[in-house]
Amino acid sequence: MICAAASALEDGAMVVVGTGAPCAAAMLAQKTTAPNLTLMFEAGGVGPRLPRMPISVGDSRTFYEGLMATSMSDIMETCQRGIVDYTFLGGAQIDAYGNLNSTMIGDDFQHPKVRLPGSGGASDLGSLCWRVLVITPHDRRRFVEKLDFVTTPGYLDGPGAREAAGLPPGSGPYKVITSLAVLGFNDTTKRMQIESLHPGVTVEQVQAETEFELGCCSPLGVTAEPTTEQLEILRREVDPHGYIIGR
């Protein structure tokens, strides 16, 4: 997942990342194919030379030897101005249009089965950055027909819905990188479709782990296996303590 996510980021782009897998992917991209990738963190860190993985998106690692330590509004407004290409998001649930739930599980807002943290910066970043990348394990509990709560807008209920709601035109979910496949969104329907399968995974397997009906790109690709070099860098430089890798 981390290697596939890293390859989605081109050199010279700007990306707002969170902690964990997204940060590992961005660091890997920086050390391989995208040395001039600018990392930003929602609490205000810009362009750090990350000495190791941050624990919090606001901790001092996020601006260690950085270019700027600014404010949350400055980061979000930079996204709103249209400068930021990518953000990485996750969530407890995702639907066919790439809408995300990180607020609650259950059907009663005042008495949820599980209360989750809420939007944090996710709904802002998912609204204001050009392209949203999602990294998530792939199973039927997460890939659902209907979210318990729409925290962060994907394509909402289909083509034109983002624009009609007042979200910036031309923005939205771009890729969903899972434990089984890399998925994208159909240009016409805005529904999720498989772009490439991880080695050894079948379409049936991915569909079985997904509640909603998935489309398929043609021809269907195979996700590149992580190279020895990528794995070396991940293990030695990005995550030497194994916080993310091998979990």
């Binding site: 190791r52 998106v57 606001g58 600014t70 949350m72 979000m76 607020t103 943290p117 939007s119 709904s123």
Partner: protein
């Protein structure tokens, strides 16, 4: 789409009432240094709307939050803006046999401690339904402070439209008079009281922050009452030698508390890293309710001040380790 989210407004966006408040606020360059106990006793009242600076577990005013819990304030509203350990701390005042500290919460991020996991006790408090919630996002709550700091009743944003987050917020929809675009607007938020931890302050409340400011530049200007805690108390001459470094001016500040290590167990940029072992212990112990009660009794309720808490967490030796982690991260 409805024109306004159905969430409740916990504070009225009345800019003229705020102007009157700020007009009447004492503005002399007086000595505001006092103990944490006195600052909380004088400036945090039952029923107040409270906001906490920093980023949940980064540059937070832990000593002031402990004292609010220790003095058992009741019925507070709270801005859950990037709240993690700060929210976890305040939840120690709910469901632990001491009344109900939190009553209403504007939510952007609560209950979780980022990658560290969810707080079992915060979940108990929130999932029981005893706390009234209104949903926002990190940026829109920051923008509410920004509107208040500007002295205007609302500000527009292009985000979070079309979501349940909007539906359960108190945001509204407007049409731009220039472009006819649909926009979301969020109401100004003037908290009754805010607590912010800074690197340096003089006795009058002129403050310096190093590293990211998160939303504290606006929060300090939006808060009706502001208590700052500082790592170091410096002279007014020091402030005047480098006025560019002043992030918060004295006229925003009501109390200055000198609390070295005051963000512990949170991170303080360029000073000390977060105590991940202590935070992990806290999360683990919350699973067992009786053990949790004994834990908060030992660390908060049976201590008389923050220094005792630091001692019980390893004192100077532990702080030296965290200082090393912060200054030599490679």
């Amino acid at each position: 789409m409805s024109m306004r989210g159905k969430g409740p407004l916990f504070a009225e966006p009345d800019c003229d009432a705020a102007r009157q408040w700020f007009r009447d606020k004492p503005k002399q360059m007086s000595d505001k240094v006092m103990s944490v106990e006195e600052a909380v006793r004088r400036f945090v009242a039952d029923g107040d709307y409270l906001a906490s600076g920093g980023f949940g577990g980064d540059r937070i005013a832990t000593a002031l939050l402990h004292e609010i819990v220790r003095q058992q304030r009741q019925g507070l509203s709270f801005a859950g803006h990037t709240a993690t350990h700060d929210f976890q701390l305040l939840c120690a005042g709910n469901d632990t046999g001491r009344g109900q500290l939190l009553k209403r919460v504007d939510v952007a991020y609560i209950v979780g401690l980022e990658a560290r996991g969810l707080s079992p006790h915060a979940r108990r408090v929130v999932e029981s339904g005893q706390v009234e919630l209104c949903e926002w996002t990190n940026y829109t709550l920051a923008l509410r402070f920004q509107a208040a700091s500007m002295g205007v009743p609302f500000l527009p944003v292009r985000g979070f439209a079309g979501t349940d987050t909007f539906k359960y917020s108190a945001a509204a929809r407007v049409t731009c008079p220039y472009t006819n675009q649909e926009l979301t607007v969020v109401p100004a938020l003037w908290p009754d009281v805010a607590v912010i931890h800074v690197h340096e302050a003089d006795r009058f409340g002129n403050c310096r922050i190093r590293g990211t400011s998160v939303s504290d530049w606006h929060l300090a200007r939006a808060a009706k009452k502001l208590i700052v805690s500082c790592e170091r108390l410096i002279s007014n001459d020091d402030i005047r030698r480098d006025p560019t470094a002043t992030a918060i001016p004295f006229y925003c500040v009501d109390a200055v508390c000198h609390v070295p290590c005051g963000s512990y167990p949170g991170n303080m940029p360029y000073e000390y890293f977060s105590d991940e072992e202590h935070l992990r212990e806290w999360l683990t112990i919350e699973k067992d309710f009786d053990a949790y009660l004994a834990f908060i009794d030992r660390l908060i309720f049976s201590t008389t001040n923050f220094e005792e808490y630091l001692e019980r967490c390893g004192g100077a030796a532990r702080m030296a380790e965290l200082r090393k982690q912060e200054l030599e991260p490679r």
